[in-house]
Structure formats: structure tokens, C-alpha cells
């Protein structure tokens, strides 16, 4: 299966701009399915971007974040060709990790 995480990280001088799209249902726990039964809450709790073993962006998320969330941020001090590690963990204990090259 393809990764649930898409990342694009571009270094421009000192600043690295990161964009990420994550495939996840992000069910809030308040929505009913076609049969009228509640869809249990299922959402990403922690999203983390690591550079050189150091966290550069950590998000504590809850059920109010939209489906297939998109994140954009920038940080200082990375170089072209370096690795950026992205990982998430959800409330059911599932997780995914990917490593992107900064271009």
C-alpha cells in the first residue's frame, strides 16, 4: 500500500517550506452512517516532523480536524538533500511514518 503521507519540502536559502497531505478519515465520533449508527471516533492524535533527530513541528490533534488533513509550515536550518521524517499516531493506535528528502 502506498504511504498515507504525501510531503513536499523545499529549501529556499535558510528557510525550508514543508507541505504535507495525510490520508485519514478523521471521524469525529458524532457522525452517523447510512444505517443510523454512530461512526466511532477515529482521528490522528499526534503528528510529528523530525529533522536530524529533533522535532521541528509537533501537532496534538483532536476530532475537529478535517478528513485528509493538509499542513503547511516552514522552519530554519535545514539543507537540500537532508531527510525529514514525518509520522502520525491515531487514537486507535495505528501509525504511519515516511521519510522525505528536502529539495
Amino acid at each position: 500500500m502506498a504511504s498515507s503521507i504525501r510531503v513536499r519540502a523545499t529549501a529556499n536559502g535558510d528557510i525550508t517550506e514543508v507541505q504535507a497531505l495525510i490520508q485519514h478519515p478523521m471521524d469525529s465520533g458524532f457522525v452517523k452512517d447510512a444505517k443510523g449508527e454512530l461512526i466511532p471516533a477515529h482521528f490522528i492524535q499526534e503528528l510529528k516532523f523530525e529533522y536530524n533527530g529533533k522535532d521541528v513541528f509537533v501537532a496534538d490533534w483532536g476530532p475537529a480536524v478535517s478528513k485528509d488533513p493538509y499542513v503547511k509550515f516552514s522552519f530554519k536550518g535545514a539543507n537540500k538533500g537532508d531527510d525529514l521524517k514525518i509520522s502520525w499516531t491515531d487514537n486507535k493506535g495505528a501509525s504511519d511514518t515516511t521519510i522525505a528528502k528536502i529539495s
Binding site: A2, R6, R8, Q19, L21, Q23, S66, K67, D68
Partner: protein, 288 residues
């Protein structure tokens, strides 16, 4: 009586009225059906109404009408929300059925770069065949269960097929067959007929008012509106097919939607695609 060439040259509002009038008189008088002239009039109407919009830009729907939205969209396109569907569609398209055959076996040119030829008129069946219909028929012919016409797998498949056809001009043919002309005419009638509690026709929004706001949204022009399908709509937080687009339009004007791939929907898709001939395929698209 007003002559058509005269009407084309006159002001845009007048052309809209003329188009309505023609649609109405045709039904009764059963004039000669002339799709080529209809397409020309349809395109000229939009070109004259929006002289500053590049012709190939109409397929970008509301973004062709509003600079601000266009900039937001261009940024979004760097990381488009339909990317997951596109990848899923590519994988599904390449995965063989249980009997070992693939989607590619059902389509000309292995299904690659052919989106611009759909829908087409099938002279054997005597009806319009859309891409979605052809995909499900392909599945059924190979012993697989058909997909829902409105979203998910179907939208992923058509997203991939549209992507392989991006930039190719829409190229819908109307064969010399009275039934094909009838299908075109039915589609046109469906497009201009008012229905539902709000008494809207498709044209009320997408011919009379493109670029205008309807609550928070900007209406897309009817010209080339299907070239961008399937679309990821933020409102749906997911992908939708041409069928879903029609059904949503009907229910938003409080009309009773038809079943996906009902004859009327097939015919209106035929009409709308034909009048967009020459404009590039831009699907899969992203819309608010």
C-alpha cells in the same frame, strides 16, 4: 421571426433569451436539429459575455471568473486534494480482474488519453454511453460487481483516465443518426428546462449567472464545466463524478434528482460535452 446569425451578433443578454426561445420553439416546431450551430452559438455567448477570459480557461470553472479564487486554487494545485484518488485510480486501472483481463482491454488505446471522446453515441444501443457507464459495463462483462456511479472507486478511475487526457481538446462526435440528434436535443432540453421547487434550470445558474455569487460560492460557466470532472469538492470532502455533479445540482435547486446514468443525465452530458468541443480536458479538478 429572428434569424440565428443576427442573434449571435447582438448583445449577450439577448443571445441568452434567444437560446431559451429556440429551445422552446424547437420542441414544438421540431425544427432541423443543428448541433454544430448550437455549439458555435453556445461558445460565442460565453466568449462575448467574458471577453477577458482566455478560451481554454473556461474549463477551470469558477477560477476563470474570479482572480482571488484563482490565486488560491493555483497554490492548491501545487498539492492537489485529488492526489490520493488519482494514485488509487492508477493502481486500480492497472490491477487485473479475477479473470486476468484489465480495464485497458475494454477501451480503445488501452484507456489512456481517451477521456475527451466520452460520452459517445453508441449506434448499436441507440443511446449515449458515458465513461462511467463504460467502466461499469467493463466490470460486469468481466464478472465484477459494478461500482457506485457517484464517488469513491468510480471517481478514482475517471480521475486517472481524465489525467491521462489532460490538455486534449474535447472531441465529441454526433453520428449521422436521427437517434443521436434526438439525444443531443433531449440533453439540450433538459439543460434549459426549469424544474424543482426553486424553478431553476441548469442554465439559470450556469449560463445566466456564471461568476456571480450564490451564497459563498462562485458559479461556474456551463461552457467546459464537464472538462474538469471528476472533481474533489471541499464541500463533499471527497471526490465526485459527473453523475454526482448532476444529482447535487438537482437537489440544490430542490428538484428530485434522477438515478445516476438515467437517460436524461446521459443526454445532458452529451449536450454539454459536445458544446465544449475544442476546449481542453482539465480533470481531475478541485472545487470549493
Amino acid at each position: 421571426m429572428m434569424k440565428r446569425p443576427a442573434a449571435i451578433l447582438l448583445g449577450s443578454a439577448f443571445v441568452a433569451l434567444a437560446a431559451f426561445a429556440f429551445a422552446a420553439t424547437r420542441v414544438v416546431a421540431a425544427d432541423k436539429i443543428d448541433p454544430a450551430a448550437d455549439a458555435k452559438a453556445f461558445q460565442n455567448f460565453f466568449f462575448q459575455k467574458f471577453p477577458n477570459v482566455k478560451r481554454e480557461d473556461f474549463v477551470n470553472g469558477p477560477y476563470s471568473m474570479n482572480e482571488d479564487m484563482k490565486r488560491q486554487w493555483q497554490e492548491k494545485e501545487e498539492f492537489p486534494p485529488y492526489e490520493f484518488a488519482l494514485d488509487a485510480g492508477k493502481e486500480m486501472f492497472a490491477t487485473p480482474f479475477k479473470n486476468g483481463r484489465t480495464y485497458a482491454d475494454c477501451f480503445p488505446n488501452g484507456g489512456i488519453g481517451i477521456r475527451q471522446n466520452y460520452p459517445y453515441f453508441d449506434e448499436k444501443e441507440g443511446k449515449v454511453v458515458t465513461l462511467e457507464l463504460a467502466l461499469n459495463r467493463c466490470r460486469e462483462a468481466n464478472g465484477e460487481a459494478p461500482y457506485s456511479y457517484v464517488k469513491d472507486e468510480m471517481a478514482s478511475l475517471t480521475a486517472y483516465m481524465a489525467f491521462t487526457s489532460r490538455g486534449k481538446p474535447m472531441d465529441i462526435r454526433i453520428p449521422d443518426d436521427p437517434r443521436a440528434l434526438e439525444a443531443f436535443e433531449n440533453g439540450k432540453r433538459y439543460f434549459y428546462a426549469r424544474r424543482g421547487q426553486m424553478n431553476f434550470s441548469c442554465a439559470s445558474c450556469h449560463v445566466q449567472s456564471p461568476g456571480e455569487r450564490i451564497r459563498a460560492e462562485i458559479l461556474a460557466p456551463a461552457l467546459g464545466i464537464l472538462n474538469a470532472l471528476p472533481i474533489y469538492r471541499s464541500e463533499w470532502s471527497g471526490m465526485g463524478t459527473t453523475s454526482r455533479r448532476f444529482i447535487t445540482c438537482n437537489s440544490q435547486t430542490r428538484a428530485v434528482p434522477l438515478e445516476p446514468q438515467a437517460d436524461e443525465y446521459r443526454d445532458v452530458e452529451y449536450f454539454l460535452s459536445y458544446v465544449a468541443n475544442g476546449l481542453p480536458i482539465s480533470g481531475p479538478g478541485a472545487r470549493p
